[in-house]
C-alpha cells in the first residue's frame, strides 16, 4: 500500500511522487548519519547521570525528545526533582505545538487513531523532512511520513544504546567526555537561534540561571533561567526572519541530529 493521497490539492503524478520520495530518503539518510553519533553522546550523558540501560532505552523510545533528554540527564545528575524535569521538558518541547499545527492540514485526511500514533514521532527532524515532502507533492503521504519518522527514531535509539555501553568501558574524565554534555547543550541552543530575539532569550536565560543557581542551587537556577529567559527575547524587536510565527521553516536544530 503506497499510503499516498494524491488529491486535488496536490495533483502530482506517480513519477513526481517517486522523485519526492527519493529526495526524502536522501535527506533522511543525512539526518540518520548525524543522529547516530549524537545519540552516542546522549548515551554517555545518561551513563554519567547513573541511568541504567533500560532507563536509556525507555527515555529514547518513550520520551523521544533529544534536547529534553539531554536536559533531563543533567537535572537527574544534579538531583533535581521530577517536577522540575517535567517543567523543563515542557518548555524545551513546547515548539512541537507549532510543528503539529503545520502538519495538521496535511494529516487531516487520516483517521484520528493514526494521527494520534503519528504525533508520538513528530520530532524536529520528522517535521522538517515530512513537511518538505508534503509541500513538494501538495498532499499527505503516509509512507513519506514514516520514512521521516524512522530516519531519526532508529539511529537515535541505537546511538544512545551504543553510547551508553561504550562509555562504560572508558575513563570518561580522562578523555574529557564529561564536558560533552554542557557543550552539547550550548551547541543545541545555538542551533535553535535564528534571530536577535533567540540570542537575547539565550543570554537572558544564562544571566538569570547562573546567579540564581549560585544562591539557590543549580536546578532552581536552571528552571528560573528557562522560564524567564524568553522574556528577554520578547523585550527586543524581532529581526526579519522572526517576524512570522508560522513554522514553515524548520528550526536549525533539525540539523543537529536530535529528535
Amino acid at each position: 500500500m503506497s499510503g499516498a493521497r494524491i488529491g486535488a490539492a496536490g495533483g502530482v503524478t506517480p513519477r513526481e511522487l517517486a522523485d519526492s520520495r527519493q529526495r526524502l530518503v536522501r535527506d533522511a539518510m543525512a539526518i540518520s548519519a548525524y543522529a547516530l553519533p549524537v545519540g552516542l553522546v546522549y548515551g554517555l550523558a545518561a551513563l554519567q547521570a547513573h541511568y541504567s540501560l533500560v532507563d536509556v532505552l525507555a527515555n529514547s523510545t518513550i520520551a523521544l525528545a533529544g534536547g529534553a533528554q539531554f536536559a533531563a540527564a543533567g537535572l537527574v545528575k544534579d538531583g533535581a526533582s521530577w517536577f522540575a524535569i517535567a517543567g523543563v521538558t515542557l518548555l524545551v518541547n513546547a515548539r512541537h505545538l507549532l510543528y503539529s499545527a503545520a502538519v495538521a492540514p496535511y494529516a487531516g485526511v487520516k483517521s484520528r487513531r493514526e494521527r494520534a500514533v503519528m504525533a508520538h514521532f513528530l520530532t524536529d527532524e520528522t517535521f522538517a523532512l515530512a513537511l518538505a515532502h508534503f509541500r513538494r507533492i501538495g498532499s499527505f503521504d503516509r509512507r513519506g511520513y514514516w520514512i521521516a519518522a524512522m530516519a531519526i527514531f532508529i539511529p537515535w535509539t541505537i546511538g544512545s544504546t551504543l553510547g551508553y555501553l561504550a562509555a562504560g568501558a572508558v575513563d570518561t574524565g580522562k578523555l574529557g567526555l564529561d564536558v560533552a554534555f554542557p557543550a552539547a547543550m550550548a551547541g543545541l541552543s545555538l542551533g535553535m537561534v535564528s534571530g536577535r530575539r533567540d540570542v537575547a532569550a539565550a543570554l537572558g536565560a544564562v544571566a538569570v540561571a547562573v546567579p540564581i543557581g549560585l544562591l539557590a542551587g543549580a536546578s532552581v537556577g536552571l528552571v528560573s533561567g528557562a522560564v524567564l529567559g524568553p522574556f528577554f527575547g520578547l523585550a527586543v524587536p524581532p529581526s526579519g526572519n522572526e517576524e512570522s510565527s508560522a513554522p514553515e521553516t524548520p528550526e536549525p536544530s533539525a540539523e543537529a541530529g536530535l529528535p
Binding site: 541504567s52 532507563d55 525507555a58 518513550i62 520520551a63 529534553a68 536536559a71 533531563a72 543533567g74 537527574v76 544534579d78 524535569i85 517535567a86 521538558t89 515542557l90 518548555l91 518541547n93 515548539r95 512541537h96 505545538l97 484520528r112 494521527r115 504525533a119 508520538h120 513528530l122 578523555l175 574529557g176 567526555l177 564529561d178 564536558v179 554534555f181 557543550a183 547543550m185 550550548a186 551547541g187 541552543s189 545555538l190 542551533g191 537561534v193 530575539r197 536565560a205 538569570v208 540561571a209 547562573v210 549560585l214 544562591l215 542551587g217 543549580a218 537556577g221 533561567g225 528557562a226 529567559g229 524568553p230 522574556f231 520578547l234 522572526e242 510565527s245 540539523e255 543537529a256 536530535l258
Partner: protein, 109 residues
Amino acid sequence: MSFALVPLAFVMWAVTYPARALPMLAPGIERLPPRAVAYLRLAGPAALAALAAVNCLLTSDKPPHLLVGIEPLAVLLCILVVARTRLLLPGVTAAVVLVAVARAMGVAA
C-alpha cells in the same frame, strides 16, 4: 538492573505528547495569542542555554560555586565551532579534545 528512571520517561512523554498531538487531533487549538507563540519559540534556546551555563559554570557542590577551569573554555570553543559549521558533533568533539589534551598535559584538573 535499575528501572528507576523508566517512570521519568513516561512523565516526559506526558508533557511532550500533548504539544505534538493536540493541533493534529483538535484543529484550531494551536491558535494561541501571538505573544504566547513568540514565548514558546524562545523557550527552547533559553532552556538549553540555561542548562549549558549551569553545567559548565557552576560546581556540583552544595551550595554551588563558580567554576573556573578548562570546561567553560571548552564549551565556548564548541559554540564557536557550531556557529561556523552549523553542526553539533564537530563542536562537541572539539570541546572534548581540548579538555582531554589539557588534562593529559597537566594544565587542567
